[in-house]
């Protein structure tokens, strides 16, 4: 969800990602694939943490929040433990606030004490890494976690900061101008990840 600025209308260099020549929208994950990716990520988080002890899931609005709830549901089914789920809005920590009209601020909801816990940040798309940088700063103002992990549904490449995800649903090669559209049942009525071509990428998101 980090805007690296305005949509770069047409840039021909494919960047470090892989060149994929297509003018139409392409579906890269359907509902089943999203469900399997969430299940796998939930397993991986529990495995890396050796159980649910001390875990706090923090979704980054907008679509990180329902994803965090899905991961928690899988974990609760597996371990029978209630993993706390919250939301971490990063708007006021962004480094591009001055480049846009005043941005609407989302909701931050702290479900449990951050101090000493293992916080898993959850977002839909990892792109430049700037959103995650902002999230780390925002989290630091809420307390000092024992560790912070990052789980994303889609890693589309083109990092601009030294940040990587610990758990990734799917690596999706993209061009810089393209838009990765993540739709989730909770907000959009269907589960689908697709790549919109550069021309339609009016939102310049992810």
């Amino acid at each position: 969800m980090s805007g690296t600025g305005a949509p770069q209308a047409q840039r021909d260099d494919p960047g470090p990602g892989t060149a994929v020549g297509s003018a139409a929208s392409r579906v890269v994950m359907d509902a089943d694939q999203i469900a399997r990716a969430c299940a796998r990520i939930a397993h991986q988080i529990l495995e890396a943490n050796r159980g649910a002890e001390g875990l706090v899931l923090m979704g980054i609005p907008t679509r990180g929040v329902p994803l965090a709830h899905r991961l928690a549901t899988v974990m609760n089914d597996l371990e029978g433990a209630r993993v706390p789920v919250g939301a971490l809005d990063v708007t006021m920590y962004r480094d591009d606030l001055r480049q846009h009209p005043t941005r609407a601020v989302g909701h931050t909801d702290l479900p449990a004490e951050v101090e000493g816990s293992t916080v898993v940040l959850v977002d839909d798309v990892l792109y430049s890494g700037r959103t995650v940088r902002a999230a780390l700063d925002a989290l630091g103002d809420l307390g000092r976690p024992h560790a912070v992990r990052l789980a994303v549904l889609v890693d589309r490449g083109h990092r601009e900061l030294p940040i990587r995800a610990d758990h990734v649903g799917s690596y999706v090669p993209t061009r810089t101008g393209e838009h990765v559209s993540v739709r989730l049942v909770e907000l959009d009525g269907l589960d689908r990840v697709s790549i919109e071509p550069a021309d339609d990428a009016t939102r310049g998101e992810a």
């Binding site: 920590y93 009209p101 005043t102 601020v105 103002d141």
Partner: protein
């Protein structure tokens, strides 16, 4: 939104946006690090030509919690006491490269005038007997929270009755509140002795009454105004005691209020004059909530004005 000069600058949608953001901002008060980086590198000047404790300090805290640099200039101890004009003072401060000026001035319209002279954002922190828009916002915030105790998602004030009692003529709080509460859908009833009702009040979107006891049982919110002795040259009412008998929120009147109705006062209070100690400290008094809301609401307004691209 470039300036905040009048409560009439805001439509219902904008008010709701500011109040929702203020709810988020209020969470900062409970955090270990009371600081958000949103206004880093911005400079806010509080330019106060009139005394103020809560408005000035809450603007200062609001700016600081958003990481802006905040400077206070008051008329006493500045070049204003050497006879500098408002225009020169405003231009001088603006020439230092500030991003926003928060102005309180005894002359109605001074912030509006200042906004014509400079490029910086101007916020009206109370101008004469004209307006005090951030007070109206924090009152709306406090009242909305009160309503939300019974209806969790209460947005508008449709169907609610707010009774504002006291010196309407000299009150900028009343003017801003009338405008904002009306925008939010509340029915406002103004209650005052005839001498303290301004000329032209028939054109306001309110009901007017001179008998407090008649309207009190209908109020969802009773907002008591301060008797502003500094703006009165006398003759508005015979004695303080008579004012209290006619228009003070005394203990018997407290008991006559509808169950669930709440009390507001913009402060500072004249205990025993317009409001009794019983009413000020009653369980349904929102007066301290209003003070707490001041910081959150002003953070929200500063972010709305300064948070984005110029």
């Amino acid at each position: 939104m470039r300036h905040l000069l009048s409560a009439a600058d805001l439509d219902r949608h904008q008010i709701t946006e500011i109040l929702d953001l203020a709810e988020e901002m209020s969470l900062v008060q409970g955090r270990p690090v009371k600081k958000l980086p949103a206004l880093r590198g911005r400079t806010v000047v509080n330019l106060f030509f009139e005394d103020s404790t809560r408005t000035r300090s809450s603007f200062e805290i609001a700016g600081k919690w958003l990481s802006a640099d905040v400077i206070n200039i008051s008329a006493k101890g500045s070049s204003v006491s050497k006879g500098e004009s408002l225009r020169d003072t405003v231009l001088t401060v603006a020439a230092m490269g500030v991003d926003a000026l928060v102005i309180r001035h005894p002359a109605s319209g001074a912030p509006w005038q200042a906004s014509r002279w400079i490029d910086a954002h101007v916020l009206n922190a109370g101008d004469g007997t004209h307006e005090h828009p951030t007070q109206a916002l924090l009152d709306a915030f406090t009242i909305r929270r009160h309503f939300r105790q019974t209806v969790p998602d209460q947005q508008s004030f449709d169907g609610k009755t707010v009774v504002i009692v006291g010196d309407i003529t000299h009150s900028r709080v009343a003017r801003s509140n009338v405008l904002m509460l009306n925008t939010l859908g509340a029915q406002v009833i103004l209650v005052a002795p005839p001498t303290l009702l301004p000329a032209g009040i028939d054109s306001w979107p309110v009901l007017v009454c001179t008998d407090l006891d008649q309207v009190l049982p209908h109020a969802d919110i009773v907002m008591m105004l301060r008797v502003q002795r500094e703006r009165m040259s006398g003759g508005y009412f015979p004695t303080a005691r008579e004012y209290t008998i006619g228009y003070g929120l005394t203990r018997p009147r407290l008991e006559a209020m509808r169950p669930g109705a709440a009390i507001c006062h913009p402060g500072p209070m004249n205990r025993g004059l317009e409001i009794s100690a019983d009413a000020a400290d009653a369980a349904n008094s929102l007066i301290l909530d209003q003070v707490a809301a001041g910081v959150s609401v002003r953070m929200s307004v500063l972010y709305e004005l300064l948070g984005g691209a110029e």
